[in-house]
Amino acid sequence: MKKELGIFILLIVLCIIVSIINPNFLLSINLQNLARQIGAFGIFSIGLGLVIITGGIELSVGSMMALLGVLLSMTLTEYGYGAAVAVLASIGLAMGLGLGHGLLITRLNMQPFIVTLCGLLFYRGLARFVTDDETKGFGAADYESLRFIANGNLFGVPMPFVLLLVIAAITWLVLHRSVYGRYLFATGRNSEAARYAGIDTKRIITLTYVISGALTAISGIIFAFYTNSVSPANHGNAYELYGIAAAVLGGCSLRGGEGSVVGILIGTALLQVLRNLVNLLGIPSSLDFAVMGAVILIGVMADQIFTERRNRRQVALMRELSAREAK
């Protein structure tokens, strides 16, 4: 909890500052835009966070989204399948790819970094190849239901955000309250000891990559309909970095065994608010990266310094206490 608190405070402070400087921040339209972004980015970030908790990494999400996106467009517009079929095929394919990653990692003992790096390269290449480097879109045709998922609102709340909340709630339950979640943490912390305790660590790890695949597919569908087009060469570029950054900011450790769903959500929200504020405050576009970098650094730094100072104060307090007792 402590870990998420610092970043949460940073998020709140940032929101307050921005809304003071530019009250437009609080316009419902802006909040909706923001929530939509948080939803779309949050869903796959949760999957990435789970993978990071196992001590692994998943670099291929961005490329996978590009591949899924162009295939989605092709199944819908070129082969004329229905929306339901296309969505299920997308999610199914992504889970299959995740399963592939998981099996390569657990059965062949390959490093997650290498496996998913190859995924990053391979899926991107495949996406470009099947489309012959042509951007694929959904045109103006109405895939009502799919568009609704990406661009619609439910009682004024953007659908991606609703989806994120539902998924986060389920993941929270699974991660922090279920047997699977406990096994996941155990595997990430010390897979050897987990194995001695009878946990099928290979299955747990594989399953996690599959889940991550499914969540990537859901995010991918949202992004595809959000932009309404998928450029095979650019779509989803560097999104793995956003996901990893959100998870790490939210307290996941890349050494595995640490992290929480709430943290990942806060991390995602922070990144998106930063992107939003650059535009709202009229900061020169050239500086937006710099602002993001600086805010994150200062925030995490302040958090660290406060934590350390608090610890030091506690130690001093104890020393005093025991000195007094000694008298």
């Binding site: 047997v179 406990r182 155990a186 194995r195 946990i199 065994g257 025991s322």
Partner: protein, 497 residues
């Protein structure tokens, strides 16, 4: 050291503790698990900071803020938890941070010197390997010896040894004790922590006893006896060990019980191991360091591949390729290396205890916190794990109490076969007695128990029969009538069988 105090959140680990060591003196520091021995030594070794108190060397007050400063003052620390580096070789570990270098900007290591000097050191300790061996190829005991070699090589004035013999077998222990006596002659001071009372009896000039983080008294050389130490440590008389131990039980399984046939491990493929354990029987497995006992246990449990084996339990043939196969058949292993395989040090006590049995505390895969906490609390009480709360991170527990957590994991089960690999390593005398009792109770309920142990006393006391191994070979199985230290040693050293 005088008036040293240390608090951890929720625990007063040390309260106004004093300790002094003269030049060339061997001081034993003893006490129950969690008494604060390691904490006191970590303060002296600069690994943690004290809250109060002073440290003086040659009546000069000193501040020791880091292991480096301790080292500079001539204090070397052999930690209870191994702190060797398994990505380096033996010589690199021994000379870490003391490497002889050739002059020059790059500080190149003088490799010739490092290897030859390391070879000398490890041979002195009776370690029969090359100093170029990567550390990850050594057994736990051998790694322990490397760490001792490291401290010896440092040429320290004060050497702290925190349970150095806990994973050593008799002959290595003997050699180490000789070396300690030798060091004493060279005017080196030794602070020696051990739960093995006879070692203390043999070498200590003085024994300082800690109880619950406080000084509980000091025994001079002439006063050091087993009973007095124990009484001072636990504050009461202890009932006799191994009381009512093994009465002769039927050692014929009649096809029942746990039968292992033709087990061949990858490391010793030329030897097959065959033994059986009747329900209610305790089979001890003795042997020297590296005899391959742990390997056998791991192969049975399915963590390691066996080249060939036939395992049956109560007449039913089992196929075990993964630990979960073993567990689902009621076969459990308490591993020897607690930090690596025994527990997850970043999990708290509750989570560690419930881990293998999580399904039974959950409905529809959702864990019932109440059931889990209750089971953990019961286990903590049952074997007296010293922790303020089951929510304490296992890493913060003392070494012995960590070991108890490892044991506690399996107590919540209904085992049919239970394999203990060095179950009492680092456990204090009081708790040892409790664990022995526990093992006997398990046996009485019809469980087949296997106890791998390097402590002669323990194997002889607890077992109904003893299987002895030498370099991967099963050299013999002794019946209770044949039990004697000599008989075990003869088989263990391969001079017979």
């Amino acid at each position: 050291m005088a008036g040293v105090s240390k608090r951890f959140p929720g625990v007063v680990a040390l309260d106004n503790v004093s300790l002094s060591v003269g030049a060339g003196e061997i001081v034993a520091l003893i006490g129950e698990n969690g008494a604060g021995k390691s904490t006191l030594m970590k303060i002296l070794g600069g690994a943690i900071a004290r809250d109060n108190g002073t440290i003086k060397i040659n009546s000069e007050p000193v501040e020791i803020r880091s292991p480096r400063e301790a080292s500079a003052l001539g204090i070397e620390f052999i930690h209870q938890e191994l702190s060797v580096l398994d990505n380096l070789d033996v010589a690199a570990n021994i000379f870490l941070h003391r490497e002889p270098t050739t002059a020059g900007f790059l500080k190149l290591i003088n490799r010739k010197r490092i290897y030859s000097e390391a070879d000398v050191l490890i041979h002195k300790l009776g370690l029969d390997i090359s100093s170029r061996t990567p550390l990850d190829q050594l057994s736990l005991a051998q790694q322990q010896l490397v760490e001792i070699a490291r401290a010896l090589g440092a040429g320290a004035r004060i050497i702290i040894m925190d349970e150095p013999t806990s994973s050593l077998m008799l002959s290595e222990t003997r050699r180490l004790l000789e070396i300690i006596k030798d060091l004493k002659r060279q005017n080196v001071s030794i602070i020696y922590i051990s739960h093995r009372m006879h070692e203390v009896e043999e070498i200590a000039d003085r024994a300082v006893v800690l109880r619950d983080g406080k000084n509980a008294g000091t025994l001079q050389r002439s006063e050091i006896t087993h009973e007095r130490m124990v009484r001072m440590m636990v504050g009461r008389d202890l009932k006799e060990f191994f009381k009512g131990a093994a009465h002769e039980r039927s050692s014929t399984t009649n096809g029942n019980g746990f039968i292992v046939r033709r087990l061949r491990t990858i490391r010793y493929p030329n030897h097959t191991i065959t033994f059986d354990v009747a329900p209610g029987e305790v089979l001890g497995i003795a042997g020297l360091v590296g005899a391959g006992r742990s390997e056998v246990a791991r192969a049975i449990f399915g963590v390691e591949e066996a080249l060939e084996t036939e395992v049956s339990l109560d007449g039913e043939t089992l196929r075990i390729t993964e630990p979960q196969d073993a567990i689902s058949n009621g076969i459990y292993l308490v591993p020897e290396d607690r930090r690596l395989s025994g527990l997850i040090v970043d999990f708290n006590v509750r989570e560690n205890i419930s881990l293998p049995n999580l399904e039974s505390y959950s409905s529809a895969k959702i864990i019932s916190r109440a059931k889990e906490s209750k089971a953990a609390a019961e286990a903590v009480k049952a074997i007296n794990i010293k922790t303020p709360t089951p929510e304490m991170r296992a890493a913060n527990l003392s070494g012995g109490n960590q070991q108890k957590v490892v044991l506690a994991k399996w107590l919540t089960f209904r085992p049919r076969v239970l394999i203990f690999d060095e179950p009492t390593r680092g456990i204090d005398v009081g708790a040892k007695a409790e664990i022995y009792e526990l093992i006997r109770n398990l046996a009485a309920k019809g469980v087949s128990v296997i106890v791998i142990s390097s402590e002669m006393e323990e194997v002889l006391g607890i077992s109904d029969r003893i299987a002895v191994m030498h370099e991967g070979r099963l050299t013999g199985i002794l019946n209770r009538a044949q039990f004697s230290e000599e008989a075990v040693m003869r088989l263990a050293t391969g001079t017979e069988g």
